[in-house]
């Protein structure tokens, strides 16, 4: 029980950790972008033609992805698909699995946001001559994303943390680096403390970045109160004094 941590011995492996970190970062950046785009299109298809065969298949795929373990999805894509003649590199398999997983979860989140959009917004678009797609793209989508932004942000962070699993198919991400260093040095405690710390910082940075993006995209929500209201409270104060 008198274990003395020896962090300096990890120093030579810093480049491995940084390389792993970079892999995790680009995997996350790529798959959150693709995943959200996928969700936007999936919600559109299911809104446009809810009863079509394609929409129903999409719905089933979403349920499948939301109700099976991510690691099984990843293994299926990497180890299972070659049986069907589709061999993918580990990185490619990781990108596909993470994208599909995020798209499935975030499409359900976004769909709730779109469903919560008042009929009046669609009708205003229609009355102005917009096509349904134009109404979705230019009228409904942004407020729906805004409404659901906290949930979407969390889902993106969850996918980033969940990406640790791709080390299992030998994608050289941060966890892969940690495993490698641990097996070389047997410094399990140090390796995983440092790695956990790096994930934590990454998650914090990611949330900060997404919040910034949110403030930019959804500036319309963070407004000074309407002038009329300010006036009346001012008048009220004067009346009191």
């Amino acid at each position: 029980m008198n274990y003395l941590p020896d962090f300096p011995r990890l120093l030579p492996y810093l480049p491995d950790l940084m390389a792993g970190l970079m892999t995790t970062v680009w995997l996350t950046a790529l798959t959150t972008t693709l995943g959200i785009l996928g969700a936007v299109m999936c919600v559109w298809q299911r809104h446009r033609a809810p009863t079509s065969l394609f929409s129903r298949l999409l719905g089933m795929l979403v349920e499948l992805l939301r109700n099976t373990p991510f690691i099984v999805q990843l293994f299926f894509i990497f180890f299972g698909l070659p049986a069907l003649g589709l061999s993918l590199s580990a990185e490619m398999a990781a990108v596909i699995a993470m994208t599909l997983n995020l798209a499935a979860y975030s499409s359900e989140i976004l769909r709730a946001g779109v469903d919560a959009t008042g009929r009046g917004q669609w009708e205003a678009g229609r009355a102005l001559g917009l096509t349904r797609w134009q109404s979705y793209r230019h009228v409904v989508l942004m407020p729906a994303l805004e409404r659901m932004y906290p949930a979407l942000t969390s889902q993106c962070v969850i996918v980033m943390l969940g990406s640790a699993v791709v080390s299992q198919i030998s994608v050289a991400d941060l966890t892969f680096a940690a495993n490698f260093i641990q097996s070389r040095t047997f410094l399990s405690f140090e390796s995983y403390v440092v790695t956990a710390g790096m994930y934590l910082l990454l998650a914090i940075a990611m949330r900060a970045l997404l919040n910034r993006i949110g403030r930019r995209l959804f500036g319309f929500r963070h407004l000074t109160p309407a002038p009329r209201r300010r006036l009346s409270s001012h008048v009220l104060k004067e009346a009191h004094s």
């Binding site: 008042g118 009046g120 917004q121 009708e123 205003a124 229609r126 009355a127 102005l128 001559g129 917009l130 096509t131 134009q134 230019h138 009228v139 942004m142 407020p143 805004e146 959804f218 319309f220 407004l223 000074t224 309407a226 002038p227 009329r228």
Partner: protein
């Protein structure tokens, strides 16, 4: 308010446009065009015949005949549930009618080959609940449809949007967010947004009902100005004074039919039917 100044500025602008238009006409196709113009000025802009519409088992419109001529201001009044909104919504095909015929600007609207983009350039609509796009600034709200639907270039759309906003007395609100405006201002933006498509007729469904009483006047003033400019208006309204003073004709709807219609002064003074008398007794 500088509405008066804006009106006169606008008047001179539109007469300029009229002059140049005339010049263009005389250059290209002189006689036949102007003959056509006077012809179409007489024809009804909106014409409904035997229009029917049901929601499931519930018949809501039971055979409506109505003709609205260019420049006319028609007020539709009637009890809640009598089908006023449904009638308006059929005219711009937010609802598909079941039977009868709707002609707008000479074109027959039959759900099948209806082109929303083309219809929106004939028929504009303003809603009770404004329905501004909350994530777009006031100016962008007005510019969106001309750019997307008509393919108008951004700078042209912006110039027009500023013009339309000035017309409704909100020239300085171009960069504001809708949520920063009062209800009356939001509704006037909604009118500007509809006008930016240059519709031939504007449908207004109780557009002052959601407003504080002191804001109603500003919106009605805009409607009056539109009438002076020759815009065709079909209004569902509870503003009986407005219907009487500004409207050319009043339609009283009752249980899905046009129960009574006519010149506002006569209709309000001497309702012919018991139903209208009761209705007026309740609202006046």
């Amino acid at each position: 308010m500088s509405l008066l100044a804006e009106v006169s500025a606008l008047d001179s602008a539109s007469s300029d446009a009229a002059v140049s238009e005339k010049a263009a006409v005389t250059e290209s196709a002189p006689v036949s065009d102007s003959a056509l113009d006077t012809e179409s000025a007489k024809a009804p802009l909106v014409s409904l015949s035997a229009l029917t519409k049901s929601f499931g088992d519930l018949p809501v419109l039971k055979g409506i005949d109505l003709e609205v001529r260019p420049g006319e201001v028609v007020s539709i009044i009637g009890r809640s549930g009598s089908g006023k909104s449904t009638l308006l919504r059929c005219i711009n095909q937010l609802e598909q009618h079941d039977g009868g015929a709707i002609h707008v600007a000479g074109k027959l609207l039959d759900g099948s080959e209806m082109d929303a983009a083309a219809l929106a350039q004939d028929v504009g609509m303003v809603f009770q609940s404004f329905n501004l796009f909350p994530h777009k600034r006031v100016g962008e709200n007005v510019m969106l449809a001309p750019m997307l639907v008509k393919g108008v270039a951004r700078d042209v759309a912006e110039r027009e949007a500023r013009e339309m906003l000035a017309k409704v007395g909100l020239g300085e609100k171009f960069d504001a967010w809708p949520s920063q405006l009062s209800g009356g201002q939001q509704q006037r933006v909604a009118i500007a947004r509809a006008l930016a498509m240059h519709p031939k007729v504007l449908l207004c469904d109780e557009i002052t009902s959601a407003l504080d009483p002191e804001l109603v006047g500003d919106v009605l003033k805009v409607l009056e100005q539109l009438k002076r400019e020759g815009m065709t208006l079909i209004l569902v309204t509870h503003e009986m004074n407005f219907a009487r003073d500004v409207g050319d004709r009043v339609i009283f709807m009752h249980q899905g039919r046009v129960h009574e219609s006519g010149d506002p002064a006569t209709l309000f003074a001497n309702p012919a039917t018991e139903e209208l008398r009761q209705f007026l007794g309740a609202v006046l």
